[in-house]
């Protein structure tokens, strides 16, 4: 009994030092807030930019054989080439290198770390989201496009009424996975001095010379976040399935 009691009072003492003394829990709250803001902002930017890249890539793949040479074909060709270059650069370098380049080279004059973080992780996520959405578009039978076109819809209408709603539903699990990866990837934001959840733990470690409590603490917070978002996404998926099957 005394062993457990001693262990428990030790844990309680560590907890007090790590989070209660001098209101150190405020670091965690700030870090959590920043982690969530950066993740949500980055996922929105990633989906928006990723969708554009996916549309460029799949439109090119599906239509360039049939397009007449001219201005629009040339534009789409250039856009497709740029998209491929972008995917190669982003997927070919580590995210932590990208975020440092953005902070210390490209946006070195910016003081808004949160915004810079959103842009850095958003640009990174876009490359992965683009390939997810493109695979979703390509997974829709070509007959669906033909049926849409045969009714008289143009390419854009066919995509928005027929192909994309089906593609989105197919890729939702993969997009959810990307969101959860992104949430955890933001842990490298501390490299550029952005106080995210991981850096908050680092600060507490620095001032208390204790590692156990802050690190286990944030691990639990990440885990709870991931479980919560997985549950939320599962609910959304079930709702989409019910609404059309």
């Amino acid at each position: 009994m005394t062993g457990i009691a001693a262990w428990w009072s030790n844990i309680a003492a560590q907890f007090t030092v790590a989070f209660i003394v001098k209101d150190r829990w405020k670091y965690i709250v700030t870090g959590l807030r920043n982690t969530l803001i950066v993740t949500l902002g980055a996922v929105l930017l990633g989906i928006a930019l990723g969708a554009v890249i996916a549309l460029v890539r799949s439109s090119w793949d599906r239509t360039h054989d049939d397009m007449r040479p001219g201005f629009s074909k040339a534009c789409l060709g250039v856009a497709n080439w740029l998209s491929k270059l972008y995917l190669t650069l982003i997927r070919g370098t580590p995210v932590v290198v990208q975020i440092m380049i953005l902070f210390f080279v490209i946006m070195a004059n910016s003081n808004n770390k949160i915004l810079t973080g959103i842009i850095a992780f958003g640009l990174n996520s876009a490359a992965y989201v683009a390939e997810i959405i493109r695979s979703g578009i390509m997974s829709i039978d070509i007959g669906q496009t033909e049926a849409g076109r045969s009714l008289g819809f143009n390419y854009t209408q066919t995509m928005s009424f027929v192909v994309l709603p089906q593609a989105f539903k197919n890729v939702l699990p993969a997009l959810a996975n990307e969101f959860i990866s992104l949430l955890k990837e933001t842990a490298v934001a501390g490299y550029v001095g952005l106080t995210d959840l991981t850096r908050a733990a680092g600060i507490i470690r620095g001032v208390t010379y204790q590692s156990f409590m802050p690190l286990i603490g944030i691990a639990i917070i990440y885990l709870v976040l991931v479980i919560f978002f997985s549950w939320l996404i599962g609910k959304l998926e079930r709702r989409l399935r019910n609404s059309d099957h």
Binding site: S150, L151, G152, P165
Partner: protein
């Protein structure tokens, strides 16, 4: 009855990229208003390619297609407008799986013809009534049999009030017991005077409903005429051997 030409095809060519063979090698044919044209031929003869060229789902590499005298292969032609008046039915139905039957039928009329939801739904329900599927208006395509899906696909095209209907092997993907119900809808459509072009292996249908039968082989029209010309008095050796194999 005067022959009023609706579609005039001249010297149609289709050469697929990367292939040496010409899928279509100079097809000339005209389709009169109110005519039911059936296209038959061995697989690989170009009959589906020909049909798909008529609404430019395949882009011809040569020749012209005149619809009501206007050349739809002209780069400046607004193909989306022409397609609104040319219904197409596919082998695999291609209903939109994420929409109810009713929504499948009202989407295009509402978005393209500017019909109100009430107008579009009234028209759709009348057509569903005609094919005996009014009770399935709220169902999703995967809840229907193949025969039901194909009947819906036909009337989905009819919702756009087309001038001509193109059928690309509409019964080939169906279980045998469902072929009849689809052919019935097509026969009723023919009786109502719809202009139709149909690629099919249903020789009974061709004989009974067509006024114009076209036999294609190797990207060309080998023979064409009335059902009696084609089935009872075939001229060419190729048609005779084709008929011998399938009849």
């Amino acid at each position: 009855m005067t022959t009023d030409t609706l579609i005039e095809v001249k010297g149609l060519q289709k050469h697929f990229k990367g292939g040496d063979i010409k899928a279509l090698n100079g097809v000339d044919v005209s389709i009169a208003r109110g005519e039911v044209m059936v296209i038959i031929g061995p697989s690989g003869s170009g009959k589906s390619t020909f049909l798909r060229c008529l609404n430019l789902l395949e882009k011809p590499t040569g020749g012209t297609i005149l619809v009501d005298g206007a050349d739809i292969t002209d780069p400046k032609a607004d193909i989306n407008r022409y397609r609104q008046h040319m219904g197409m039915v596919f082998q695999h139905f291609n209903l939109f799986p994420h929409m109810t039957v009713l929504r499948n039928m009202t989407l295009a009329p509402m978005k393209l013809l500017g019909k109100s939801r009430a107008e579009a739904e009234e028209k759709a329900m009348a057509l569903l009534e005609r094919v005996g599927l009014a009770d399935r208006a709220g169902a999703y395509p995967h809840q229907l049999s193949g025969g039901q899906q194909q009947r819906i696909a036909i009337i989905r095209a009819l919702c756009m009030e087309p001038e001509v209907m193109l059928f690309d092997e509409p019964t080939s993907a169906l279980d045998p017991e469902m072929v009849g119900e689809v052919l019935e809808v097509m026969k009723a459509l023919a009786r109502d005077g719809m202009t139709m072009a149909c690629v099919t292996h249903e020789m009974g249908f061709a004989r009974e409903v067509a006024n114009h039968v076209v036999f294609m082989d190797e990207g060309k029209i080998v023979e064409q005429g009335t059902p009696s010309d084609i089935f009872d008095h075939p001229q060419s050796e190729r048609l005779r051997s084709f008929l011998a194999k399938i009849l």
